[in-house]
């Protein structure tokens, strides 16, 4: 099929950036979206032009590197997938496709479609862990049974890949779903409970410091999340945060 791509080009963080048209042909419906961009880049290099920069790595929807805003949707059309899992069979001959980077003040553009999500690492470093050192003499893994429902719920939250689609799609640029997923996972486990208050406060504080917006429960993040992480986790974060705030000493 033939497509008309309109792609955001920006040389660096301080460059103004603009949309550039790239007509492409011979796109196979078996290609992934990123493979389609590979073919375009191959062409650009042969012509002596600068290829389009974009983040990607595992190409199987788990590393969270890829991050394109396609036709106004984070990770493009389709639910529960990342851009690398988006295949061209979802488009039809003659389509015009807009491709942009994640847009958020807290995710500055590095070049073209690649942005920095270092803010997520800093939120994690603020409290997204259980304070336990490596040791060969821990209690046995089965010493504390964990109800299957809690384990399953925690797992659902833990599947977050940290791609940032939630932020990119949120009208407020909020990182609540990302932060909530980690807080929720760890507060559901007995191992994470001792420092749950400190964790909720510290991670939210860092999130605010990074310049992410506030959550107004639009629910857009849940819809665009490639791992289908539920708003329920935001509700749990709110409870955790509230409990931590009112009992703070």
């Amino acid at each position: 099929m033939k497509l008309n791509l309109k792609i955001w080009r920006q040389k660096g963080p301080n460059d103004k950036g603009k949309i550039v048209d790239y007509p492409v042909s011979d796109v196979s419906e078996d290609m992934s979206f990123l493979e389609m961009l590979d073919v375009l880049n191959d062409d650009l290099v042969r012509k002596g032009e600068d290829p389009i920069a974009f983040d990607h790595d595992c190409r199987e929807g788990i590393c969270g590197s890829c991050s394109l805003f396609i036709n106004g949707e984070a990770h493009g059309p389709g639910k529960g997938i990342t851009t690398c899992q988006l295949h061209m069979r979802r488009f039809k001959d003659g389509d015009t496709i807009h491709v942009e980077p994640w847009r958020s003040a807290a995710f500055p553009v590095i070049r073209d479609l690649a942005v920095s999500r270092a803010a997520f690492d800093r939120i994690q470093a603020a409290g997204g862990f259980v304070s336990v050192n490596t040791s060969g003499n821990l209690v046995d893994g089965n010493a504390v049974p964990i109800p299957k429902d809690d384990a399953d719920k925690a797992f659902d939250a833990a599947t977050c890949i940290g791609c940032g689609a939630c932020v990119a799609t949120c009208p407020n640029g909020s990182a609540m779903l990302f932060t909530a997923a980690k807080v929720s996972q760890l507060s559901l486990f007995p191992q994470g409970k001792p420092e749950r208050k400190r964790r909720a406060l510290a991670m939210v504080e860092q999130m605010d410091k990074e310049g992410f917006g506030n959550c107004s429960n639009t629910g857009a993040c849940e819809i665009e999340c490639p791992k289908n992480i539920s708003l329920e986790h935001i509700a749990r974060l709110n409870r955790e945060y509230l409990a931590a705030t009112v009992t703070k000493e």
Binding site: S28, D30, N41, R46, H87, D121, G128, N142, L186
Partner: protein, 671 residues
Amino acid sequence: MSTLDSKIPPGPIDKKWTDHKGHIRIVAPANKRRIDIIVVGTGLAGGAAAASLAEMGYNVKAFCFQDSARRAHSIAAQGGINAAKNYQNDGDSTYRLFYDTVKGGDYRAREANVYRLAEVSANIIDQCVAQGVPFARDYGGLLDNRSFGGVQVSRTFYARGQTGQQLLLGAYSALMRQVGKGAVEMFDRHEMLDVVIVDGKARGIIARNLITGEIERHGAHAVLLCTGGYGNVFFLSTNAMGSNVTAAWKAHKRGAYFGNPCYTQIHPTCIPVSGTHQSKLTLMSESLRNDGRIWVPKSLEDAQAIRDGKKKGSDIAEGDRDYYLERRYPAFGNLVPRDVASRAAKERCDAGFGVNKTGEAVYLDFSAAIERYGKLEANVKKIENASKEKIIELGRAVVSEKYGNLFDMYENIVGENPYDHAMKIYPAVHYTMGGLWVDYNLQTTVPGLFALGECNFSDHGANRLGASALMQGLADGYFVIPYTVGDYLADDIRTGPIDTKRPEFDAAEKEQKDRINHFLNNKGTKPVDDFHRRLGKVMWDKCGMARNEQGLKEAIQEIRQIREEFYRDVRVPGKANEFNQELEKAGRVADFLELGELMCIDALNRNESCGGHFREEFAETDGPQQGEAKRDDANYAYVAAWEWTGDAGKAQLHKEALEFNEVKLTQRSYK
């Protein structure tokens, strides 16, 4: 020629590690603060090592080329992690895990290392549970297990089909805790380009800041390479796009021997190639072989009809299907090890029984499992006389709970629902057992340079069993290196910070800058991928699932040709001091082009078949094992450790003889 000292401690095998830990030197807490360690790579091995060493008090600098430490490719591991917990009371033990791993590796691994791996495996599970890793649990709240290939017990712990992700995020959270404390300085979007040797010891690295392009010097008292495997030498593999050999290869060129480079794991269950645009291959976890049955039609006519689109898999009657693994290997059935399953698929497809357009696919079918689980669920839910539809509905829900994300992944890529139609799969490059040669302490032949996880050669012999990569990565990072590195660093408590203004750093930096400038000033015509794709095809055709002398000799010539053409005709756009992804790729492919030749040389040298290395000239010609790999223990029970001598084609071979005191060498039979 230097001798290879594996430094295996004396004593009985089950006491070696404990005794060794008790006798090696350690660094006192106050002195750890004076010691800097560089960890390259933040996957399971690197993330775990960086976090653990920082907890102990060392100053750690961690590097990864991804935009965050959390994205290292360990994240993509699906199926699980082995541990000898014997929670299922099915007779598992440290010894059995050790034995299975040595046998699974086709008797080409070092016994002492494997025993230690089995020994610490149980600690890993405890450690991960303590970190909040959400392993699968049963209704009693206890940890659940499943089976993997090549073993007859259930010892694999898992988190749906995302075990690697959950374990990595556990290690990453431990790492970020140390980053938050300032104990680890994190350098993401940085690629190591060279290791710097001062007075014979690894004392730092040259790295490129991938955002600014700046070439940086970092000094340290020890350098740990945790940079994964080199499967991407084949261009198409299940590795991430960025996975590369550069760090390990540069270490090799600075004196670290490369062990068993030809041992490559071809994973039997991957989504088949769809076209020339293909950029990577996607694995379907081995755990699927717990419940999926692998088959092709019994008749060539049926196979042809399927390839022509005139028949579907479901049209083939039960009696007309050839469940070839169950037929050939009744004892292990669909759960034979990966090398065996891959070769069996190739054999059927080469014989004309393949089931997709290209003729390179076999079925992985869940219909029997769906029915079996459906019946069980109907019993559990007390549904009497459940209809076939109800049973299938219930069974699908169980299969979805176990493998849902894998089925979704398959459907996204192929565009076909695997609950309705049997999956089509074919072997693909997945893992490399070979890697930098290390001794028992995980130290390479360069003092102060260590290699952990897939980056080293040590634990899997010629074939890795499923769910053992995660085990090794975390064992090395959490439980081995924190002890063994201290023995080396005990000499460095008075050394003081490493001066990166030394001439050795000047020289290494200049070399890298020159190389970058060569690529950028080369006015060639073809993009990097063009050469990479060609190299991959040579490797897959001639140094892949089956190898022979003539093919390997041809491959060596062809690789040299591609390499020569690459330096002459590659086109790398852009500048050195900017975010330049083509430039990153150029450096990596340049190293693959040298490694590929060494892999072929190693494969040519090893005149036997073992594990993932199958030489067509060395197969059983008759008897019950006809067609199976034929090892030559008298002549090849050694680790081939190659020394760089200045030219890709002229590596010098060193041998570490493998001694087997615990396990008797027999033909590896899964019949």
